[in-house]
């Protein structure tokens, strides 16, 4: 793989979010990571409207029997190279619904998953961390510190929570 290809894949991440029987909590956190405070577009992330344009599938929810087929179909519609990120406790296992007869038990039972982001729901920082990890950039590395990634998780925000 040439330097240009590697560089462009690292710098341009087009994401297609899928709600596979999620409670919407994780989807709202994904939305929050696009808002001014976190602004995932800084990293080259763009939310696209069609799976044919996407590089990364962001799946939330347990992938139950109703959404399993749809999820598989969307995954098959994506062009290679494709990556799958499971966001939230439900996508990792079944979260609070574990053991229920009517829920799926994790996205990785349906399609191959490259990265898991735990949390119920995960914070936007965690989602950004996951995306950076996916493309091989460490958030505490020099590149990102320069671009104010640190700003999103400063004490100011923590104080606001107390």
């Amino acid at each position: 793989m040439s330097y240009l290809t590697r560089w462009s894949r690292k710098r341009s991440i087009w994401v297609f979010p899928v709600n596979a029987a999620s409670c919407n909590g994780c989807d709202i956190e994904i939305l929050a990571s696009l808002t001014p405070r976190y602004d995932a577009e800084r990293l080259g992330v763009e939310v696209v409207a069609s799976p044919r344009h996407a590089d990364v599938l962001l799946v939330t929810g347990t992938a139950n029997s109703m959404t399993r087929g749809i999820l598989k179909k969307i995954y098959e519609q994506m062009p290679e190279p494709r990556l799958v990120v499971a966001v939230g406790a439900c996508a990792l296992g079944a979260g609070v619904m574990r053991g229920c007869y009517n829920v799926g038990h994790g996205v990785d039972k349906v399609i191959p998953v490259n990265l898991f982001i735990p949390g119920c729901p995960p914070r936007p920082e965690a989602i950004l961390f996951g995306i950076l990890k996916l493309v091989g950039e460490h958030p505490r590395g020099q590149v990102v510190a320069k671009e104010q990634i640190g700003k999103v998780s400063t004490t100011e925000h923590e104080e606001g929570e107390k």
Binding site: T5, D39, E41, R42, L43, G44, A49, H53, P79, P81
Partner: protein, 323 residues
């Protein structure tokens, strides 16, 4: 055609120059939108993220190309280069350095109108060729929208030509030297042109054919990899093309005060005038696009047929009477 002309058409101020300008325009678009929304915008690819559109383009060219099973394979695979060719050929007629374009004929504007129509026609063909549900709905909307904005756009383009008494873009630019900008002569025509070019570019408030929240990615839904890269590049090139056209027809394009007698320096000054005007128009379009929400298709048709068409006819009448 000698070697110098070939270089002019392919490198500067022709194809390569305009493609890089298109990348810069897309970056400025994303940055302006982000700033207006209180975000930062692309930061990591190159200084201040200026290489973000380049990264997007090269990433798309390196991806797997998917051709849908029931698509028209010939049009689907070979259409995007033709789609790209439309604005790329149109840019040759616009003066960038000096007061004359690379290619100039007495009938430039007729060809420009053909280029604008061909661009929409290719979009329609590409959408139908991909045979997707969303694409089909989108093309229906695109054709309806085209039927609405075509007439005002045409009349808005014709009014500066009437004011200059010339159909060649170079001639229109030369008629505007000494600050006789046609935006002061045909202000309504300028406004109509900007609104119609928003519709031609499928940008808000007229992004009806690729309404993200309604019909996925519109007629681009089935495209992936290289065809998508071409389609996206063509979109930004059309952006530059229409801004350059507006700058040339209404703001005087390269025309401006002559500062030196040295030809090369003066050419550079002409280029600076041109770029300032193009970016001014570009920023106006970015600001309108970010600030406004999408209208429904019937509202758009209503606006174009009952407001903008009479306005542009009125403008044309005024220009003919004033001449």
């Amino acid at each position: 055609m000698d070697a110098l002309e070939v270089v002019e058409i392919l490198v500067f101020p022709g194809l390569t120059f305009f493609v890089w300008l298109a990348f810069v325009f897309e970056w400025l678009d994303r940055k302006t939108t982000a700033r207006m929304q209180g975000r930062i915008g692309p930061m990591l690819a190159g200084p201040r993220g200026i290489l973000q559109p380049v990264a997007d383009f090269f990433k798309l060219t390196s991806k797997e190309e998917i051709v849908p099973q029931f698509s028209d394979k010939l049009v689907f695979e070979w259409g995007p280069p033709f789609f790209f060719a439309a604005p790329a050929i149109g840019t040759i007629f616009i003066p960038v350095v000096g007061l004359n374009a690379i290619v100039s004929s007495p009938y430039d504007l007729l060809f420009i109108l053909f280029v604008l129509a061909f661009s929409t026609l290719m979009a329609g063909m590409l959408g139908y060729a991909s045979a997707g549900r969303f694409s089909t709905i989108s093309i229906g909307r695109l054709v309806l929208q085209y039927a609405s904005f075509e007439i005002p756009l045409l009349l808005a383009i014709v009014s500066p030509a009437v004011a200059a008494g010339n159909l060649s873009i170079s001639g229109i630019v030369q008629a505007q030297s000494n600050f006789h900008w046609f935006v002061f002569v045909v202000p309504i025509g300028f406004a109509v042109f900007i609104v119609s070019s928003l519709a031609e570019l499928e940008k808000p408030p007229f992004d009806i054919p690729d309404a993200k929240t309604e019909i996925a990615a519109g007629w681009m839904t089935e495209f992936s990899a290289r065809p998508l890269a071409y389609v996206k590049l063509t979109e930004s090139l059309s952006y530059v093309f229409l801004s350059a056209l507006a700058a040339s027809l209404f703001l005087g394009g390269t025309a401006g005060p002559v500062l030196t007698n040295v030809t090369i320096l003066q050419d550079g000054i002409y280029l600076a005038y041109f770029l300032i005007k193009v970016f001014a128009i570009g920023f106006a379009i970015f600001a309108i696009k970010t600030a406004l929400a999408r209208v429904r298709i019937n509202q758009a048709a209503n606006l174009f047929w009952t407001v903008l068409t009479p306005l542009s006819l009125l403008q044309l009448g005024i220009v003919i009477l004033l001449r």
